[in-house]
C-alpha cells in the first residue's frame, strides 16, 4: 500500500504585497501505486505548489498528505523529482550526476558504477558517461535527470514540466521514453505540463486544475497512455477520441483564462 493520499489540502500564501493568495483549496485525491497522473491547468492554478507539497519542499497550511500511510513532512529519497531545466550539477559529468544519489548514501563505488551504466543504457545515453553535462543538448540533459532520479528507486516520481523546454521532435522521443520507463518500472508518476496533448498522451489519469483558488476542476481516466506503449504516438494524436478530448479540455482552459481576464478587468 504505497498510495499517495491527499486529504483536504489547503495552501495559503501571503504575497509580498500583503495580499492573501489561496493557492490550493481542499485538494483531495488518491493516487494508487503504479498510476501515471498528469496535471494540467492554466498558469497560477497551483500545479507546481501541489508538486512541491508532494515533494516535501512545502508544508500545506492545512490538510494531510501521505505516501504509503507515512506523512510527508520533508524531502525524501522515496520521492524523486525531475525539473523543467534538468537542474543538473554542471561541475559533475553525466555518470557522476546519475551517481549523485548513491554517493550521498555512501554506497560501494564499484557497485554503483555498474548501476549507473545500466541506467545510462536505459535512458539511451550509453557512452556519454564521461561527458560534462554542459555539453549535452536539452533532451539529453533531461535523460540524465531521469536516470539520476530513477537510480534511487523512488516510490513516487514527480515531474515538473520536464519536457517544457524541448523541441517538438525531442519531446516526442522523451514522451515515449517516459511511457517506457513507467511501464518497465511500474512507478507512480505525477507529471505536470502546460501541453494538453502531452497530458492526454501520457496521463492514465488527468487532473485539470482551475485557478483562484487552485483546485481540481475535472478528472479524466484515459486509455491513451496504455495505447502509447504499443502504438506510434503520432497515430494516437489523430485518433478521433483523442481529438475530441483535446478540444474539450482546451475550450475548458480557455474559459478559465477568460474568466480570469474578466475578473481582472
Amino acid at each position: 500500500m504505497s498510495d499517495l493520499v491527499s486529504q483536504d489540502i489547503n495552501m495559503i500564501f501571503k504575497s509580498p504585497k500583503g495580499e492573501i493568495v489561496h493557492a490550493l483549496k481542499d485538494v483531495t485525491f488518491r493516487l494508487k501505486k503504479g498510476e501515471l497522473l498528469t496535471v494540467l491547468g492554466p498558469s497560477g492554478c497551483g500545479k507546481t505548489t501541489l508538486l512541491n507539497i508532494a515533494a516535501g519542499f512545502l508544508r500545506p497550511t492545512s490538510g494531510l498528505i501521505t505516501l504509503g500511510n507515512k506523512e510527508i513532512d520533508g524531502p525524501g529519497v522515496e520521492r524523486g523529482m525531475v525539473f523543467q531545466q534538468g537542474a543538473l550539477f554542471e561541475w559533475l559529468t553525466v555518470a557522476e550526476n546519475v551517481n549523485f544519489g548513491l554517493r550521498m548514501k555512501k554506497e560501494d563505488p564499484v557497485k554503483t558504477t555498474k548501476k549507473v551504466d545500466e541506467w545510462l543504457d536505459i535512458v539511451g545515453l550509453q557512452g556519454f558517461g564521461n561527458t560534462p553535462t554542459y555539453q549535452l543538448s536539452g533532451g539529453m540533459q533531461q535523460r540524465v535527470a531521469l536516470a539520476r532520479c530513477l537510480i534511487n528507486d523512488p516510490d513516487l516520481i514527480l515531474m515538473d514540466e520536464p519536457l517544457g523546454a524541448l523541441d517538438a521532435l525531442t519531446r516526442e522521443k522523451m514522451q515515449s521514453l517516459i511511457l517506457k520507463i513507467w511501464k518497465e518500472t511500474g512507478k507512480t508518476i505525477i507529471l505536470i505540463t502546460h501541453s494538453v496533448e502531452e497530458a492526454l498522451l501520457l496521463g492514465e489519469r488527468v487532473y485539470v486544475m482551475a485557478p483562484r483558488p487552485g483546485r481540481i476542476h475535472k478528472e479524466y481516466k484515459l486509455p491513451f497512455a496504455n495505447m502509447g506503449l504499443n502504438e506510434d504516438l503520432r497515430e494516437i494524436k489523430n485518433n478521433k477520441e483523442f481529438v475530441d478530448k483535446r478540444e474539450e479540455i482546451l475550450s475548458m482552459i480557455w474559459d478559465m483564462e477568460e474568466e480570469i481576464m474578466g475578473k481582472e478587468n
Partner: protein, 631 residues
C-alpha cells in the same frame, strides 16, 4: 654599438611589417565588412610595429640613440652651454637677442622711476612744503646725473682704454678659437691635473650624473676654454664703472645734502625718513649700473657678434644633434651645469637599464645585500622549529630536567621534545627561495590564502544563514570600503613592520573580497539544484559541500582574481611605507637615491609578477570551472 644595431633592426622591422600588412590587405578575401569582429583577428605584424614603436620611443627619449651615434655629443654640448652662458651677459648689452641697448633700457626705466617719485611727493598731503621742495630738488639733481654718464665728451680716457682692451681680447679670442691648436697648453702641470680629473669622471649615463661636465674631447676643451676666457672678460667689464669727475662731484653733492637732511630728522618723522631713503636708492642704482654713451661700445658689439658667429660655425653639426636627438629639453638649454631636465634624467637608457638589471639579478650583488630572487640552504630543523609551536613540549608529561651537582644536564623525554619543537637538532639542509621578489610574492600568497581560508566559509555561511548575514554584515561592510592603506598605520603599529603586519593587511584586503564573492556565489545557487539534491537524499552538509560550494566556485575564483590584484597593489604601497625587503622597498630606496634605472626595473618586475599572478589564476579558472557561462 648594440643600441645602434638595435635601432636599425627596429626600423627595418617596422618598415617590413608595414609592407607585409599592405600585401596582406591586397590578397585577403574581402567578405569581412566593417564591424565584423573577424577583421580584428590576426595582425601579428602590427604587434611588431607597436612594440617597435615602444622600443624606439624608449631609445629616442632616453637619448640612447644620441649616445649610440654621437657618443661625445652630450659632453661637447655641455661645453657649448658654458660658452652660451658666459656670452649671454655680454650679449644682453646690445640688441643682439634683446630689442634695445641695455643702456637705453636702463635710462628709460630710471627716468620713469624718478618722474613717478616726483608726482608722488607733489601729491602727498602729509609732507610740509619745505620738505617737498627739497625732495623734488634732490630728484631733479639725480636726474641730471644721467646725461653726465651718456655724454661722450665726459667719457674718461681710462674707461675708453679699458673698453678698447676688452674689445681687443674678444677679437683675439675669436681668431684663436678658430685655430686648431686652441687652447694652448699653459703648463705641463696643469695639463696633467686636467687629465687626472678627467680620469675620475664617470661616463655619460652613469648613475647619479647623466652628462659629465668636464670636457672630454678636443672640441669640448675648445669651448670650455673659450667659456673661461669669456667669463673673465665679462667679469672685468661689469666691474668697470663709467664715472667721470663731473658725475662724481654731482653725486657727492646729492649725497651730502641727503646726509644733512637725515641728521636733522626726528625719530617720529617716519614718512620723511622713508622717502629720503628711497631718493638715495634711486641715485645709487644709476651709480652702479653700466650706462654708457650711445656709440661708446660699438666696437665691442661688433667683436661679440663676430665671436658668436665663429662659435656657432665651430659647433658644426652639434646644433642639429642637440635639436633632434635630445627631445623634450635640449642640453644646451639646460645650462652650464649640464644637470639637464630632459627625459634623459628620469628615463634611463635601455642599455644601462639592462646592465643594472643584470647586476641586480646576480645573487652576490642584489639590492641592499639581499638578492632579488635566489635560494639559500636552510636546515630542516629551522623549518620544523618555526612550524611547530613550543607549547607542545609544555603539555608533555613529566618535568623539564634540572642540572645536577656535577654541572651537567641530563636530557629527558620532555626536554628532547622541546629541542625538536624549537628546532635545536641537526638535520639536512634544503634549498629555500629568498630575496626581494620572493618576499613580496610570499606575502601576497599568504595574505591571499588566509583570506580564502577564512573568507570563503564565512561568506557561504552568510549567504545561507540569516543570523550570520545580519551578525557579520555590519562588521564587514564597515571595514571593507576603507582603502586598505588607510589601515596600514594601525596594522603596522599592532603587528610590526615585518611580514606579520603586511600579511595581516593583505589578509584584510582578500578576506572582505572573498566574503563578498563567496556570499554572492552561495546565495546565487539555483533553488531547483538544491531541491534536486534534497530529493536525492543529500544531507545539509552534503548539499553544502557537493552543491553550494561547487556552484559558487565561479564567483569565488573571480573574487580570488580581484583579490590578487588588490593585494598586489596594497603590498607594494605597504612596502613603501616600511620594511626592509620586498620589491616596493627596493623602489622606495631607489627613489631616495634617484636611481631611475632601478625604479624602472622594479616597475617592470611588478608588472610581470602581476601578470604572472593573473595568468596563473586564469589558467586555474579555465581548469576548475569549465562550465562557467555555459550552465
Amino acid at each position: 654599438m648594440i643600441t645602434g644595431i638595435v635601432t636599425f633592426l627596429v626600423i627595418f622591422a617596422v618598415i617590413g611589417s608595414i609592407l607585409y600588412g599592405q600585401r596582406l590587405v591586397k590578397t585577403e578575401k574581402s567578405d569581412a565588412v566593417f564591424g565584423n569582429p573577424e577583421r580584428a583577428k590576426g595582425g601579428l605584424h602590427w604587434v611588431v610595429v607597436g612594440s617597435s614603436f615602444l622600443l624606439l620611443s624608449w631609445l629616442y627619449y632616453s637619448w640612447d640613440i644620441a649616445k649610440a651615434f654621437y657618443p661625445k655629443s652630450a659632453n661637447e654640448l655641455c661645453q657649448v652651454a658654458k660658452v652660451n652662458e658666459s656670452l649671454l651677459s655680454l650679449k644682453y648689452l646690445f640688441p643682439i637677442e634683446e630689442r634695445q641697448h641695455k643702456s637705453t633700457a636702463l635710462i628709460k626705466r630710471e627716468n620713469i622711476n624718478i618722474q613717478k617719485k616726483i608726482i608722488l611727493i607733489q601729491n602727498s598731503p602729509d609732507l610740509k612744503d619745505k620738505d617737498k621742495k627739497l625732495f623734488i630738488d634732490l630728484l631733479n639733481k639725480t636726474k641730471k646725473t644721467i646725461p653726465l654718464l651718456t655724454d661722450e665728451k665726459f667719457l674718461e680716457n681710462k674707461t675708453k682704454n679699458k673698453i678698447g682692451e676688452l674689445t681687443n681680447r674678444i677679437t683675439w679670442l675669436t681668431e684663436d678659437f678658430q685655430k686648431i691648436n686652441y687652447p694652448p697648453i699653459k703648463s705641463i702641470e696643469e695639463e696633467n691635473k686636467r687629465i687626472e680629473a678627467l680620469k675620475k669622471q664617470l661616463g655619460w649615463g652613469a648613475t647619479g650624473m647623466e652628462v659629465p661636465p668636464l670636457p672630454e674631447s678636443k672640441k669640448g676643451l675648445k669651448f670650455h676654454a673659450a667659456a673661461q676666457e669669456l667669463n673673465e672678460i665679462s667679469d672685468e667689464f661689469f666691474s668697470m664703472r663709467n664715472h667721470n669727475v663731473a658725475y662724481v662731484t654731482l653725486i657727492k653733492e646729492i649725497r651730502n645734502e641727503i646726509k644733512e637732511y637725515q641728521n636733522e630728522l626726528n625719530d617720529d618723522q617716519e614718512l620723511e625718513m622713508t622717502l629720503i631713503k628711497e631718493i638715495k636708492k634711486l641715485g645709487q642704482r644709476i651709480e652702479y649700473e653700466s650706462v654708457f654713451p650711445p656709440n661708446a661700445l660699438n666696437e665691442m658689439e661688433k667683436s661679440i657678434r663676430e665671436f658668436d658667429v665663429a662659435q656657432k660655425k665651430e659647433q658644426g653639426n652639434l646644433i642639429y644633434v642637440d635639436a633632434f636627438l635630445f627631445p623634450a629639453g635640449t642640453i644646451v638649454a639646460s645650462g652650464p651645469t649640464c644637470a639637464e631636465d630632459g627625459p634623459g634624467r628620469w628615463l634611463p637608457k635601455p642599455s644601462d637599464t639592462f646592465r643594472i638589471f643584470g647586476d641586480l639579478l646576480k645573487p652576490s650583488v642584489g639590492f641592499k645585500m639581499i638578492p632579488m630572487i635566489w635560494y639559500e640552504m636552510m636546515g630542516v630543523n629551522r623549518i620544523v622549529g618555526f612550524i611547530l609551536p613550543d607549547w607542545i613540549a609544555d603539555i608533555m608529561p613529566g618535568k623539564y630536567p634540572v642540572h645536577s651537582s656535577d654541572g651537567t644536564v641530563k636530557p629527558n623525554f620532555k626536554s628532547k621534545v622541546l629541542d625538536i619543537v624549537t628546532g635545536e637538532f641537526n638535520a639536512f639542509k634544503i634549498p629555500v627561495p629568498t630575496g626581494h621578489i620572493w618576499d613580496s610574492f610570499l606575502r601576497v600568497f599568504l595574505g591571499l590564502v588566509l583570506g580564502i581560508i577564512f573568507g570563503v566559509p564565512l561568506g557561504i555561511f552568510m549567504g545561507l544563514n540569516r543570523f550570520a548575514k545580519g551578525f557579520f554584515d555590519p562588521l564587514v561592510e564597515l571595514y571593507r570600503p576603507v582603502p586598505p592603506l588607510a589601515w596600514a598605520p594601525l596594522v603596522i603599529t599592532v603587528f610590526g613592520i615585518d611580514n606579520l603586519g603586511k600579511v595581516f593587511l593583505l589578509f584584510m584586503v582578500s578576506f572582505s573580497i572573498m566574503i563578498i564573492s563567496a556570499r554572492a556565489g552561495a546565495s546565487g545557487t539555483q533553488l531547483s539544484k538544491i531541491h534536486a539534491a534534497h530529493s536525492l537524499g543529500a544531507s545539509r552538509w552534503q548539499i553544502l559541500r557537493e552543491v553550494i560550494f561547487p556552484n559558487s566556485l565561479p564567483e569565488i575564483l573571480t573574487g580570488v582574481r580581484v583579490a590578487v590584484g588588490m593585494c598586489w597593489g596594497t603590498l607594494v604601497a605597504a612596502e613603501f611605507l616600511a620594511g626592509t625587503s620586498g620589491i616596493g622597498f627596493v623602489e622606495n630606496v631607489a627613489r631616495k637615491y634617484m636611481q631611475y634605472e632601478v625604479i624602472w626595473i622594479t616597475i617592470f618586475v611588478m608588472g610581470m609578477l602581476g601578470l604572472l599572478f593573473d595568468v596563473t589564476i586564469r589558467k586555474i579558472i579555465d581548469k576548475t570551472i569549465p562550465w562557467r557561462g555555459k550552465g
